[in-house]
């Protein structure tokens, strides 16, 4: 069972980052491409153990019969040993992080490729640093997804933060300092609360195993008994003693689980981003260079949803119950408010940024209702958005490289000038709009269905579903209006001589467009690999 594949996967980009710094400037981008390419290929080797999981007979073997029962590619090394604690270097893979890991390596690869014309950028100094930071960021993201020790998770979480800060702050647009600092502060505010939770959870788990030693049987071998507190995310979720203690104890006079849940939630909600802690996102996107926007929208936002599903819900199920209404309300508000804000935009990139807020609202809603369909929808929505939104940001980037502005109202008739690019744009934006047959549709439908299904548990479920469904009208509104203003209409003389999308640009857009279609037509290619784990988590918390 033990494997070092995940470690290789996580640290190949780091090696690449070092190589970028050492290698001559002329080959930097090749080195970066190589490193991200290798980690993409490595990530594909993670798939085999999950093959055939769509078949009901195999599902139990692949995903195990309960949460944490069948982790793959486990690597577990005691890392920091204290008198009463052990921090492990613990990596593992299940249906929750597998799709996200592959998404990360793919988007990183495409982002590196999208940086290929770095020398033509307005700010083209520090090429080595740029690519090295980009790869370091990839390490941080991959590490966060595969770390199963809370301490390690937290470290990777913070590792992501700095490269992003510099990538926006150094290579960004005119207001890059403001955007970078805003991004940093918002995220940091979230991580501070997470740190409190980290410490509290460790001590409370220690108290738990002392209180109920007879229940503290570890999931690892099903026999040994836990004697100290733990950072193991699976242990925290599955150990009966810990769960019992977490459910009944108090923290500063409040019930422990809801408080910890909200501490963790804030950090993840910032990343998601959920209204009202979303305002860093439009600024960050507008200032960030195109490839960074792709990563930001494609992968970084998924940290939020992943965090809910890995930490908040399995460990504090009663917190989830407690806050369900609030979370769903935030989700619905994000959907509608984000869409309305998008409608008011005149900046192309800001519009796409606000559309992310709206789309990620579905993720929050789907998770908040705690139904299987809702969870599936939320996960699918994350993957779908992870494909369509980088595509949209790259589409913006392509035209920004030519026009050097992003004013929607100044564009027009671009389809006539650049027919191939126009076709790609249509696919990308219609996927974002949630057209059936493209990837955006499946996630939304599953979320709505899951919300409806929760109507016996929550009285607000039906109104929430109806409001969320109304979001698709607004979405269609701003996206169609955008297409009309940018791509349709008569050719404008100032854009008439624009060159068609280059081979490289098309090569970046094509796989994303293909995935938009494939996931829309055959959603099973995602569902099969994650449903088992989601079901296990749900069995665990209900």
């Amino acid at each position: 069972m033990d494997s070092t594949l995940l470690s290789w996967l996580v640290f190949v980009p780091t090696i690449g980052a070092v190589a970028c710094l050492l290698a001559p400037r002329e080959v930097t981008r090749t080195v970066a491409m190589l490193a991200s390419g290798i980690s993409f290929v490595l990530s594909l080797f993670l798939i085999p153990p999950f093959l055939g999981a769509g078949d009901e007979m195999n599902a139990a073997a692949v995903f195990g019969s309960s949460y944490g029962d069948a982790l793959h590619f486990i690597q577990r090394i005691p890392w920091i040993n204290g008198e009463s604690f052990t921090i492990e270097y613990f990596l593992g893979l299940d249906g929750l992080n597998l799709p996200l890991v592959i998404l990360t390596t793919l988007i990183s690869l495409l982002a590196v490729w999208a940086s290929w014309n770095f020398d033509e950028w307005k700010i083209n100094k520090g090429k080595k640093g740029y690519f090295a930071l980009l790869l370091l960021l990839e390490t941080g993201m991959l590490g966060t997804f595969v770390a199963l020790d809370f301490f390690l998770f937290y470290i990777f979480w913070e590792v992501m933060l700095l490269p992003m800060y510099f990538l926006i702050g150094v290579w960004g647009g005119p207001r890059k300092e403001y955007a970078a600092i805003k991004f940093f502060l918002f995220t940091l505010a979230g991580s501070v609360l997470m740190l409190v939770a980290l410490v509290a959870m460790f001590f409370y788990s220690g108290a738990a195993v002392a209180e109920y030693p007879e229940l503290a049987v570890s999931y690892r071998d099903g026999a040994s008994v836990l004697t100290t507190g733990t950072f193991d995310l699976i242990e925290l979720a599955t150990n009966e003693a810990i769960q019992k203690y977490f459910g009944e104890s108090l923290f500063l006079g409040w019930r422990f689980a809801p408080v910890m849940f909200i501490f963790l939630f804030v950090g993840f909600a910032v990343k998601l981003p959920a209204v009202p802690v979303h305002t860093w996102l439009p600024d960050a996107h507008v200032e960030a260079p195109t490839p960074i926007s792709m990563i930001l929208a494609g992968v970084l936002l998924k940290m939020g949803g992943y965090g809910f599903l890995r930490l908040c819900y399995p460990i504090f199920p009663s917190g989830g119950q407690f806050w369900a209404g609030t979370l769903a309300a935030i989700g619905v508000v994000s959907i509608l408010y984000g869409a309305l804000c998008a409608m008011a935009q005149t900046d192309f990139k800001k519009l796409v940024a606000y559309s992310s807020v709206s789309h990620m609202g579905y993720v929050l809603l789907g998770i908040a209702v705690m139904t299987e369909t809702g969870f599936q929808g939320a996960m699918f929505q994350m993957i779908a958005h992870g494909i369509s939104s980088p595509m949209c940001f790259f589409l913006v980037g392509v035209i920004y490289d030519r026009a050097h502005h992003r004013e929607i109202n100044r564009f027009g008739g671009l389809w006539l000038t650049m027919p191939k690019y126009g076709t790609m744009a249509t696919i990308g934006f219609f996927a974002s709009l949630g057209l059936p047959g493209l990837c955006g549709f499946v996630g939304e439908v599953f979320v709505l269905l899951g919300t409806f299904e929760a109507r016996h548990t929550f009285t607000w479920a039906v109104p929430a579903a109806i409001l969320a469904a109304a979001g698709v009208i607004f979405t269609a509104g701003y996206i169609l209006w955008l297409i009309q203003r940018v791509y349709l209409g008569p050719q404008k003389p100032e854009y008439a001589d624009y060159p068609e999308a280059t081979g490289r640009e098309m090569a970046i857009l094509m796989p994303l467009a293909a995935l938009c279609v494939v996931l829309g037509v055959l959603p099973r290619v995602v569902f099969d690999y994650m449903n088992g784990t989601l079901r296990n988590i749900l069995d665990q918390i209900l």
Partner: protein
């Protein structure tokens, strides 16, 4: 029926058009160019062959066995062993819809060969046009073949996309771009309801397959075995109808269809007259079990249908754009179809859909032929007296117009009459509305014909008017033949001597009876209606239709001054109608603008309130910094001072307090 053999024909219908579409997109621009039309001709032709075969098999199987479900692929699963399958339902309704779709589509593709050429040269986007057209045929086939609500929705949205792409085909024209957006958006509003309906169906029945759902509706239970409340059924039916009203352009969601005429004429004929816009009618009849179980929903469907029919017909009275007149006419005729469904006459509605496909496609194609000859001009005020210049177009259009007007013995007469009958049997008011609309229909149709083809010959400057070529004439002639004879599919000559010849319940309604059984079940008295009343109405509607034509003749050919006088006499009414009751303006000022303002408000809220709070939060440390900065100003004297003060203070403490 043999599921195995059915499967192959189904696959032919489902695979040939998309193959043609993909090939046209892939090979068209580089290799085929002006010959691209052969791909959709082959693809749609193959689909037509498949449809004819399916139809024959359904017919041969007879009433009891004429329905079969074939599973093609398992799509997604929500919970274990509960699959959303790609399964198709082949039954009489599907068979007829497929014939209409592929048949009209083939004719339209042939027609487009010439129409989409300018003096023999393919227009820009020729390949794209045919690729979209084939894609549309595929989507429409999915819509009518789908055996569950999910596929229905998928096809539903896909035809909407094709409609969007084809309305916006001339996307460099701002009006076309705006019309495409409007069509999609208005449909989205309808689809919002439709989507909720499907969700509600799923949570109620835990099923999306038609047969399973309808069986439970008939049994009056939900998936968990509880009794199905009438409120739930009504909610589902109304939400479904919301979608139907969007797609089939019913009040208040009809506003997109007139604008959709920005698309090329063949598109208007195929998508916005014969097939896609009838999807709503198809859906309501398909879901007959659900609708018939809710009297309230049925009444609403009928009322909206009748109201829309009348409303659109009055608007059509005063328009001058030929295609828009026909668009309002389509809205009106679709209203008739819903009136028929709402009056428990599902087969009459589908019958009207069937005949309407012939004569309305014909009228649009003929109007397109005029437009093609007039160099793109379609305004009736700018040309006239074309009957000598374009005799073929004139003759075929005349047949289409007679059929639309409901002149006895033509297709439109039989089907419209069946609906008016049904209306009178259930509601006298709606019946009179139907009859009044028939009068208006005859009038506006012939107003158009007379303005365009009669009087002295006038053409726009610089246009050399000419009759169309063979590629355009052929579809016109075929559709003209259909416009005359299609109606006899539902006429029986068997019962009651001479009068029996006019009995409009023949083969067609019998063929559909298994599909429309829910309507009959909930409305048994319909079948037992008295014969005398029927024949009386036949004469009445004949008289109304002929009267409308005569009125148009007297106002527009015989004494044009009279028309002018009437218009002058009612200036307000005329203005109201010309401006289409200001409905577009109402949408603009009551919905679009408020929404824009709300969006602007949200964004301002984001910038100033939320970011303002963020700024306030960061202001706390900044304020602290401002105070503390005084002590850290980096000047040696300052540090010296504070050091001295500090030292003094410490010394003081030690000496005074400590000592």
């Amino acid at each position: 029926m043999d599921a195995h053999r059915i499967q192959y024909w189904v696959l032919l219908v489902l695979l040939a058009p998309p193959a043609a579409s993909i090939l046209a997109a892939a090979l068209g621009p580089r290799f085929l160019r002006g010959q691209t039309h052969w791909l959709p001709i082959l693809g749609v032709g193959a689909a037509l062959v498949g449809s004819v075969n399916l139809f024959n098999q359904v017919r041969a199987a007879g009433e009891a066995h004429g329905s079969i479900v074939v599973e093609l692929y398992r799509w997604i699963a929500t919970v274990p062993d509960q699959w959303f399958s790609v399964n198709v339902l082949v039954d009489p309704l599907t068979a007829i819809m497929l014939l209409v779709v592929t048949g009209v589509a083939l004719l339209v593709v042939v027609y487009s060969r010439e129409y989409m050429s300018d003096h023999g040269h393919p227009v820009r986007g020729y390949e794209r046009f045919f690729a979209y057209l084939a894609l549309f045929v595929f989507s429409m086939c999915v819509l009518v073949l789908g055996g569950n609500f999910l596929l229905l929705y998928l096809g539903w949205e896909a035809v909407g996309l094709c409609s969007y792409l084809l309305i916006g085909f001339y996307y460099d024209r701002p009006s076309a771009a705006a019309a495409a957006k409007k069509a999609f958006l208005v449909n989205r509003i309808g689809d919002f309801g439709f989507g909720l309906a499907i969700l509600l169906i799923y949570v109620t029945f835990q099923e999306l397959d038609y047969q399973a759902v309808f069986a439970m509706v008939d049994a009056g239970t939900t998936a968990s075995g509880e009794a199905l409340t009438s409120g739930r059924v009504t909610a589902i039916a109304l939400l479904l109808f919301c979608g139907a009203a969007g797609k089939s352009a019913q009040f208040p969601l009809y506003v997109w269809l007139p604008d959709a005429m920005e698309g090329p004429s063949p598109v208007s004929a195929l998508i916005h007259a014969a097939t896609m816009v009838t999807a709503g009618v198809y859906m309501v009849v398909r879901c007959g079990a659900i609708f018939a179980a809710s009297p309230l929903a049925m009444a609403l469907v009928a009322t909206i249908g009748a109201f829309t029919a009348l409303l659109a017909a009055t608007i059509a009275l005063v328009q001058f754009d030929m295609k828009r007149i026909l668009a309002y006419s389509t809205i009106s005729q679709l209203g008739y179809m819903f009136l028929g469904v709402g009056m428990y006459a599902g087969s009459a509605a589908i019958f009207h859909l069937f005949t309407h496909a012939f004569f309305k496609a014909l009228l649009f194609l003929a109007a397109g032929s005029v437009m093609h000859a007039m160099g793109g001009v379609i305004d009736l005020r700018r040309f006239g007296g074309l009957r000598r210049v374009m005799p073929w177009t004139y003759a075929t259009m005349l047949i289409g117009a007679l059929s639309l007007a409901g002149i006895p013995l033509l297709s439109g007469f039989w089907s419209k009459d069946a609906i008016i009958h049904a209306a009178f049997e259930n509601s006298r008011l709606l019946g009179w509305i139907g009859l009044l609309t028939a009068l208006l229909t005859a009038f506006y149709t012939f107003r158009m014909v007379f303005l365009a083809f009669h009087g002295t010959t006038r053409v726009p400057d610089g246009v050399h008017a000419h009759e169309a070529g063979a590629w355009i004439k052929l579809p016109l002639v075929v559709l003209a033949v259909g416009s005359i004879f299609a109606g006899y599919a539902d006429v029986t000559f068997l019962s009651g001597g001479f009068a029996g010849a006019f009995d409009p319940h023949g083969w067609f309604s019998h063929f559909l009876s298994s599909v429309t059984a829910p309507f009959a079940m909930h409305h048994a008295e319909f079948a037992a209606a008295g014969h005398m009343q029927k024949y009386g109405l036949l004469y009445m509607s004949s008289a109304v239709a002929i009267g409308g034509v005569i009125l148009a003749y007297s106002l527009y050919v015989d004494s044009p001054m009279l028309g002018l006088i009437i218009r002058r006499a009612f200036p307000k009414t005329h203005q109201l109608l010309s401006n289409k009751y200001y409905v577009d303006e109402a949408y603009e000022s009551w919905i679009v603008q408020p929404l824009r303002r709300l969006a602007a408000f949200c964004y301002a809220f984001d910038r100033y309130v939320i970011d303002g709070l963020v700024w306030l939060l960061t202001a706390v440390p900044r304020l602290a910094a401002l105070v503390l900065r005084v002590f850290e100003q980096g000047r040696l004297q300052g540090y010296g001072t504070s050091m001295t003060i500090g030292l003094a203070a410490i010394l003081f403490l030690i000496l005074v307090i400590g000592g």
